[in-house]
Symmetry: C2
């Protein structure tokens, strides 16, 4: 992030006041001609300077023979020339004082090594010349707010983009324009589309960062295949969260296809895509996996209401659809709270055969007297105090005789409960749907999608309204740093203990006498483990003996370890034997740190044993983080309810586990340069109030190639 | 199912040749007037006899003063009279020889006890009079194939239904017409809609059963909140599977809140929702949870191609969308197999910078020379041998200059590979979309929905093409029946062993000497358990001692059990003590039988320990079933990969577990009348080739109120 120009440098690129088009064509169907054709219709207010050495005019505008010949320094330029001519063009533009360029041309990094070198040159020119470059190999950008249409996408051919609250930032031009076209069909206007293509200079984090500051943009839709600069993306998402702007993100590449086969087990689990889940949770980003989810969330968010609670009221004229919506609501973790009893009684009097708990089934009867619909809805918002109400009115609300009066009734309620969301599910022709929308009601044909929209809105609202998170603690004074050599378990545990991670009581011993004394001091059954910086997988060499009790047994175990292990691993330095107390019973968890190549140190928590291995039930957060984040991270686990106590087990000390995660995250962030990975496996979460203890630790220092990391997780 | 009339008796209801309308109104906007108004436009070919004592004519047709006055026996009648008049009307109709009636009237079971009594009378009249009754409290039925429009739904007001391959059977009138309206918007014609309402007589199973036989119906969409007659539904779904007709089913009430709402809405609800998952898997039904899933699957299925394999080829003009589709494909278990190497080489020569593995990214370049699109697609079908190809063409294929030539190229390929599915994802205006559809290509705007459609089609295709399942074995000769008394564990295990369920070696002993002898005979460590028909939860009374070895220890354990337990449970009959061998290591599973009130005996399998408790990772099948079904049931478990061996464990004997499930299912089916539930917990699945052993068994006989059944997962 160090050499990243300030986001303000993107203003000329996305909101230019003067523009040039290098490679401008007189033919408005050609790539070099389309943007000009579009802008002649879009009402761009500033000067437009086509550059074309062969023509006097281009599409009716005066043409200039070269960049040098331009009458001034344009804010932004479109570069539609062959790849080979791009670097010289950019240099000329920089020399002329142009502030930004959009490079459509392909033939760069997507074409192999030579293209990559050309692209590196583009980047160098951009940085040296102080000119921001979008692309190359991109579909460009448009900004309907000022008529800047620097794209050759056919999606704008039949209809120019209109100003609107949504902005799309997409690495893929095809997908960005696909989403734009569908949003428009849906009646949602995309004011700004930025496609970043090969990202020689401007990348997705830049684009998002700019859109957070853009006054017209209320909702940001993002699409990425991979991120180069994780810190920058993290910063942009943090800005969006602080600004209360919802970000809806489609990150593709969730599946194993293309995953490196050689990746170790943890690397596969921490496989960078899962890290995005952690990042997105951390910054309140809604991750979507389908275009419809993207559209639905943008459409709902464009209405601008983000209730801060998740109480969901369901109103329906079909009992069955009420059930269906309740199913979806439960899937999405919404609180389908019951109406207050006295409100139920009042409703029941109004509609004797209605269901009044929630879902409130007003039955088709209410449509014989529309005021009943209003009364019901008002009571749900007033007495039911629902943050959001989803009402299923099906084709009935689409009939012209109903729609007019109904919209009038709803409008009064919309006005009175300004902070709440009211989402409708109905089937109507486009013009009637617009009337509902204009009244402030998002409309969905599919009732379960309406419920998903409610969940999306309240997800944002709750995140925006979250309490200020306690900052993670600073590193403990004098806590030791990780060196460059391999760390034996006893060194790793001692080191992490100094950073506040609790371990079981243990002693490093170097003789049978010391072992017996340590066991006696620790009391009860003990574990003996070989201590060597060269042996990371002790069980593989028979280096662990558990449940040892009594003087003789301890001495025998000591002897066995120190005789047996060197036979198997004659090269290993043996520091001695660790004698450790047996941990009390509890829930087994695993905690890890991976130094992600994109995002830096990432902390992982999972449930121990087969859960993590078979179901990959783990969650991630970027280090460092505070305790509230740690709690959310634990709560995300599919098997989290095991901490509440199952099969008669007492509740486990989740707070202590959260605290451990925070401390690990502080360590991971502070030691990021020196640590490749950390594994605490297992971590035993004791009965509530009794804390948590790690039983084992493995730290892989940076630069040290580990034997294998298969034991992890 | 015993008193269920043959499905042929529904023909007059759904395909009548003559009709009467009791309560016919001259006003075509009133409920009693709408169907006649619709049918005057729909071209119903037979006689229509309005019954209205106050008028000479109704909407221009001769009216009749009463049912008695009708000139003949109508096939079907519409009954639009107040609830109080319904029974007499039905009796008159039955007396007249009418074969079916559609009762719109509400005021029956949905209105409490009195209404329920009236509804029971409707049912009795129907059965006694040999007249099939749809409703009461239903939105009716339409059959666009013969112009029979017996509904007052406003969904048909603006446009009458058209003949088409889809039929909808829905308990909910509102939802049925909602789905119909949306299908129409989508260009999918619903030829028949049947809404069953209160189901006094005709129920959803009847409706599905009829639609399986209906020659016009190629795809069945079903909607239910709860089922009264599970056997009938099972039989109807089995018929559909045998006929190769896809059934797409929305069963609501999956969630706790949803189930509670459903219970308040419909009196019919009983049984666990999870059982439906088992039923649907067993009969190849696609369960959907959203309206869009329902529409998408019906739309795709209406094209009538169900490839029998799940090799999925992905073609795209955007690399990122290729990744996105691959993500979805992996989620859905599709096989995104690589193109053959030599085909990749050929493709690479055609498009030097395309990705050619699969997804095949032809890039926008291919749209400069459309023949390349054809060549690629042809190679994918021919050499890639994909059962289904999803091609993402976005807005590009929507342009008029592209669409015409592209459709021509695709048509030739469509013709050549008749058995394969080719699904497109693109954005175009309605008329262009129709052209693609008419060419035999389902079209989706959202590429991930296109992939879901591919999964739906191949899911049906694979089910329809499945090998004939081996019949479950018959009950072992002389296998004992379950009595009415409580069964102690040793009786339950002996009984189930006779039915072929393997258990650990064990002895019932009644003295310390016998215990010691049994332990010596079994060898190694043993388990001692109290044996009593009155104690179902032995661990709760300290009735189990594990890991006992040696003569003295066994005697002591025997003494401890026989002294301690009677102190805690003085009322319990003690049969003695079971001495059991310790089972070898393996994967722990749980197997159970529940006698579902709707579907009868249902077998459950789950992974033992916390997996079943925390994650509810279980699957169900209706008993009895064969071994292939048992294998599928095991494979459905989210944690199934534990059987393949994790953490260095050997693969487990899944075949033996499948065999055990089959035997349990045979027992459960044979003893259905006598058994409430069975629990085998745990069942240890040993290393492959070494079988499976149950360690414990609990049988709750019918009529016996169990202490608790909390152990049942």
């Amino acid at each position: 992030m160090t050499d990243r120009p300030d986001v303000e440098t993107l203003r000329p690129l996305i909101s230019p006041r003067s523009i040039a088009i290098v490679g401008a064509s007189d033919d408005p169907t050609r790539i070099g001609g389309r943007p000009l054709g579009y802008m002649l219709k879009s009402g761009f207010q500033g000067p437009i300077w086509p550059v074309n050495p062969k023509r006097e005019t281009v599409q009716g505008l005066q043409a200039f023979a070269s960049v040098d010949a331009l009458p001034g320094a344009p804010d932004a330029c479109i570069v539609a020339v062959p790849a080979a001519a791009v670097p010289d063009t950019l240099e000329a533009l920089a020399a002329k004082g142009a502030k930004a360029a959009v490079v459509f041309s392909s033939g760069f990094a997507e074409m192999g090594e030579e293209g990559k070198a050309a692209q590196d040159r583009v980047r160098a020119i951009a940085r040296a010349g102080g000119i921001r470059v979008l692309g190359p190999n991109c579909l460009g950008v448009f900004n309907a707010h000022n008529g800047w249409i620097a794209t050759f996408s056919s999606s704008v051919e039949q209809e120019l983009p209109k100003p609107g609250p949504v902005a799309i930032a997409s690495q893929s031009g095809a997908y960005g324009s696909h989403a734009f076209a569908l949003m428009r069909t849906r009646g949602v206007q995309t004011g700004i589309l930025i496609t970043t293509g090969n990202e020689a200079d401007v990348d997705l984090a830049d684009a998002i960062g700019y859109l957070v500051r853009d006054e017209h943009t209320k909702v940001i839709a993002a699409y990425a295949e991979g991120i180069r600069d994780g810190d920058a993306l993290r910063a942009a998402l943090a800005d969006a969260a602080d600004a209360g702007k919802p970000v809806i993100f489609m990150k593709v590449g969730r599946s194993a296809i293309g995953a490196a086969a050689a990746a170790s087990h943890t690397a596969a689990l921490a496989g960078s895509d899962r890290v995005y889940d952690g990042l997105f949770a951390q910054y309140g980003v809604l991750r979507v996996s389908s275009t419809d989810q993207l559209l639905d969330a943008c459409y709902a968010a464009a209405h601008g209401r983000f209730p801060a609670g998740n109480r969901l009221g369901l109103m329906t004229i079909s009992g069955g659809v009420g059930v269906q919506m309740a199913d979806s609501a439960e899937d999405l973790g919404m609180d389908v709270a019951e109406m207050p009893k006295d409100a139920q009684r009042t409703l029941q009097e109004l509609l004797p055969y209605a269901a009044v708990r929630n879902p409130v089934d007003v039955t088709a009867q209410a449509f014989n007297d529309l005021s009943l619909v209003g009364t019901n809805l008002r009571m749900m918002l007033d007495q039911g105090r629902y943050d959001v109400v989803v009402a299923f009115f099906t084709v009935v609300a689409g009939s012209r005789t109903i729609a007019g009066p109904l919209i009038k009734i709803l409008a009064e309620i919309r006005e009175r409960f300004r902070e709440r969301s009211i989402i409708l599910s109905l089937v109507a022709t486009g013009d009637i749907v617009r009337q509902y929308e204009d009244g402030g009601f998002p409309v969905y044909e599919d009732p379960t999608r309406a419920v998903a929209a409610a969940a999306a809105l309240t997800g944002f609202g709750r995140f925006f309204a979250r309490p200020v998170e306690a900052a993670p603690p600073s590193a403990p004074a004098g806590a030791p740093a990780v060196g460059t050599d391999a760390l034996a378990e006893h060194h790793a545990t001692d080191l992490l203990e100094a950073w506040g991670v609790p371990f079981v009581a243990r002693r490093l011993v170097t003789s049978p006498d010391q072992a017996a004394a340590a066991a006696a001091e620790l009391g009860g059954k003990v574990v003996l483990k070989i201590a060597s910086p060269d042996i990371q997988h002790k069980t593989e060499v028979g280096g662990v003996i558990v449940g040892v009790q009594g003087d003789e047994a301890v001495r025998a175990a000591y002897a066995s370890l120190t005789e047996r292990v060197p036979l198997l691993r004659p090269d290993a330095t043996i520091d001695g034997v660790i004698v450790a107390a047996m941990a009390p019973a509890g829930v087994e968890a695993v905690v890890g740190v991976q130094n992600d190549p994109t995002f830096g140190p990432v902390v992982m928590v999972g449930l121990g044993g087969v859960l993590v291995e078979v179901l990959e039930d783990v969650s991630f957060r970027l280090a460092p983080f505070g305790v509230a984040e740690a709690r959310r991270m634990i709560a995300e686990l599919k098997g989290a309810k095991i901490f509440a106590g199952v099969r008669g087990a007492p509740p486990a000390d989740v707070e202590a586990l959260a605290d451990l995660l925070v401390r690990v995250s502080v360590f991971a962030a502070a030691e990021a340069e020196r640590v490749v990975s950390v594994d605490l496996n297992p971590v035993r979460v004791l009965e509530a109030g009794h804390g948590v203890v790690a039983l084992d630790a493995l730290i892989v220092p940076a630069g040290l190639v580990p034997e294998t990391i298969e034991e992890v997780a």
